[in-house]
Amino acid sequence: MALRPEQAKALIAKVMDTRDQEMTCDACVADLATFVEVQLTGTPLSAALQAVHEHLERCHDCADEYHVLRQALAALAEEEGC
């Protein structure tokens, strides 16, 4: 298997970032609402929510949902504050 350089670098980064235990997407999604609320209030993360944070660093799909959700909730919070 020959790999192109950029893809090889991306793959190596993913491989080296792999942990023995990683949260699944379903588990992340189940805690995402709580995670965003905690983030928006600036409360320290519990161990369970720290796992969500780590998952978001390596899962583009869940991170994308997190950003949209955070933005939507921030917009509503701003509205309530008016």
């Binding site: 298997m1 790999l3 893809q7 793959l11 999604v29 709580t34 609320e37 939507a72 509503l76």
Partner: protein, 204 residues
Amino acid sequence: MRAPRENASWIRDLRACGPVQAEALTDLRGLLLRGLTKSFQARGDTDQAFVEDVVQQALVHILDHLDQFQGRSRFPTWAMAIAVRLAMSALRRKRWQDVSLESMRAPIEGAPAWDRDDTTSPAQHAEQHAIVATLSRLIDETLTEKQWLALTAELGGMPLEEIARRMGSNVNAVYKLLHDARQQLKHGLATAGYTAEDVRSAFP
């Protein structure tokens, strides 16, 4: 101005019949519409009709799954998370609808052109070459065809949900497939004598 509903009131009112439920639905619809409209305006890849359609689907889904709300967040947050999930899923499906898994392999595989750039020393370049050669061998020797197909699609940016759809699987199973593949490659590199520090030095 009416005080915001507490979680229990949302559940009670949405489970009610007649005007009580209708009012709660109107309030929830308004919240979801305002939040999603703001959020997607910032992204610029949807229009208002898309947002309204997603909100409608979300309301149906939320009413069908009220018993799954565990109260770990505020109810509107939980409901918004559902709407966001439906929206992102629809966007991913549309974005990737004409792309096959097989077509994702071509940009990944190919003759390596490891020309050294000015920021890489000759020794570092040689080390990069050696690590990638080992990685390529490990891919051939340890990964299944299915693992490699999923890995190339992920590297190409295809969402796991779309990989899963094409494999007739689900997101969790694909995540596990990819996690196992990454672990096998990491273990293979370690067995071949490359420490995490070696790899970090070669690819800073």
